[in-house]
Amino acid sequence: MTDTRKQGTRSRGEQLSILDRTARWITLPRFIFAATLFFFLTSILFPFYWMISSSFKTRAEISGRAPVYIPSEWRLDAYQELFDPESPIGRFGTNIVNSVKVAIPTALIAVILSTLGAYAVARLKFRGKDVLLNSILMVYLFPGVLLIIPLFAMLAQIGAKVGFNVQDNLAVLVVTYLATTLPVALYMLANYFRTIPAEIEQAALIDGCSRLGVIWRITLPLAVPALVSVAIYTFMIAWNEFLYALVFLNSRELFTMPIKINTIYNEPQPIPHVVMAASTLMTLPVVFLFLALERFLTEGLSAGSVKG
């Protein structure tokens, strides 16, 4: 008895002192700081929570008289509908594969081509370098909607002559994504190559290594972080791209994820839980990729490398 009472008073005393301490700790600047931080974190995280939690709700929960803040049960209805082979909005697996088919080749080719180009820009002297760099910078200026009309007309013309379809052709999409990502990749890599001391390369050249040998044996191993971040960026741009895919793809079988999600959203009967399920599947890989490689990536982000 006495023991418990003692404990009670002691803990009350501690509580008081904690309250006291926090009261003393909280000053106006600290309060403003904490409140602003809280505001930022909730307004950033809530949409992501809402996306993921909505994807586990049922049709009844999604169209009820009030929003369901926490799903009573984490149901997979939306995902089942999304992968349903019978339904026109289903077969999302095909769309995931299409996105992968576009994003991975774009990333690989962009890394290879931009490495070669960036090395030349960073290390070699050649005529027309400034003209080249300036015209590559112009890419920042041209809106996608401006380029898509002539691109469409041009590729339709070439396609009619050579014999390929402009529409519903994932290869055409890869080529257009390369055009929009290569300039950025080239700038990023060239900036990185400049930070590698030229003396190391010169030593190898004097020892009889060829230029291409130098690139392969010396520069590339030193530039792995930059290569990784360029690969991730180009992958993300191709993975997320909307406008070109919207114009160039017509058949549901060839839709990349963004276009498929857009059509699901525009179904006559709204099914937000399915849209959110598809969005979750599209967002999670990108966010995880980003978190895993963040150290490489933020530097590139602040270098203004991502157009968006």
Binding site: L37, I44, L45, P47, W50, M51, S54, I62, G64, R65, P67, L113, S114, L116, Y119, A120, V121, L124, F126, R127, G128, S135, I136, M138, L141, F142, P143, G144, V145, L146, L147, I148, P150, A153, M154, A156, Q157, V175, T180, L182, L186, N240, F242, M257, I261, N262, Y265, V275, M276, S279, T280, M282, T283, V286, V287, T298, L301, S302, G304, G308
Partner: protein, 320 residues
């Protein structure tokens, strides 16, 4: 004697030249694939777009574009007379004015939010690393996902969460159709832009903040400056260049942006900006000439503004 030295010199020069040209040839070999793709798929199409804007190009003659009839400024005058384009008083701004208002306000708001976020993250606190990663989420996530999540949050049906929260708090009596109310829709779209793009501004400002010489603050402390005075007279001047550059970049990108508004409102309810109008002319009406003309008008507005900004505003900043 002189002849031999001359001979030596010229052969040396030749060798030097050939070495240089060999390097040049290698360089062009390395750049060529990138250069071809960029010129073929960006620079040439951009020039071709000017050509299209003066011709009657539609779906019927798309496979034979080069024989499309020349129509002079017809496409341009059609755009200027279009009700979706021209300003007709306060009720209906038209795409040009909407674009300008939207880009300016969205850019300024993005910069302000980015500045606040960078000031938050510039102070050391427990969990700062995680907070920084989280702050980047809106910028990293795919635009389609975040646009549709926001549409779903802003949904006017009873299951829309923002309406529910506001009604529970007693701030509104009836659900509001946020993205389907003229005026309000534009405000929401501007807020969305700030939500999505502030991390980019934040990162660039943060990098500059961390490079500010701490002795400046110490000197201000000695002079008895308040926190606000330190911010106003030390931090802001140090951030001048990065803010100026950010403003230009973000304004340019926002002005050119198609996806965000197209996905959020489809360009309805007073949010039709020039990129969306370009898309509609080209791929809804299938009038590519008119679409190209709209895109050229967009580009001209942008270039004129940039010339003005770089020539006058940035020079004044330099002079200060």
């Amino acid at each position: 004697m002189t002849a031999t030295t001359q001979h030596k010199q010229s052969s040396f020069a030749k060798r030097w030249k050939s070495l240089e040209s060999r390097e040049g040839r290698l360089a062009w070999g390395l750049v060529l694939p990138t250069a071809l793709i960029v010129f073929g798929l960006i620079i040439f199409p951009a020039i071709f777009s000017i050509w299209i804007s003066f011709h009657d190009v539609g779906l019927h003659n798309l496979n034979d574009v080069f024989h499309a009839p020349f129509v002079g400024f017809d496409n341009y005058s059609k755009v200027f007379q279009d009700f979706a384009f021209k300003f007709q008083g306060r009720q209906s701004w038209g795409a040009a004015v909407t674009s300008i208002v939207y880009s300016f306000l969205a850019t300024i708001l993005t910069l302000i939010v980015g500045l606040i976020a960078s000031l938050l993250l510039n102070r050391p606190f427990r969990g700062r690393g995680i907070a920084r990663s989280i702050f980047l989420f809106p910028y990293v996530a795919p635009i389609v996902s975040v646009a549709f999540v926001w549409r779903w949050i802003l949904d006017p049906r009873p299951s829309g969460v923002l309406n529910d929260v506001l009604m529970r708090l007693g701030l509104i009596d009836l659900p509001v159709a946020f993205l389907a109310t003229r005026g309000l829709a534009l405000v929401i779209v501007i807020f969305f832009e700030a939500w999505r793009y502030f991390p980019f501004a934040m990162l660039m400002i943060l990098a500059r903040l961390q490079a500010i010489d701490n002795t400046l603050y110490e000197a201000a402390d000695v002079d008895g400056a308040s926190a606000w005075q330190k911010f106003r007279f030390v931090t802001i001047p140090e951030l001048r260049y990065v803010l100026g550059a950010l403003f230009l970049l973000r304004l340019m990108w926002t002005f050119n942006k198609f996806d965000d508004i197209f996905l959020l409102t489809g360009g309805g309810f007073g949010t039709k900006v020039l990129p969306v109008l370009t898309y509609e002319f080209s791929f809804r009406l299938l009038d590519f000439g008119r679409g190209a003309a709209t895109a050229m008008i967009l580009l001209v507005i942008l270039v004129v503004f940039m010339a003005f900004y770089v020539g006058i505003v940035m020079r004044n900043v330099d002079a200060e």
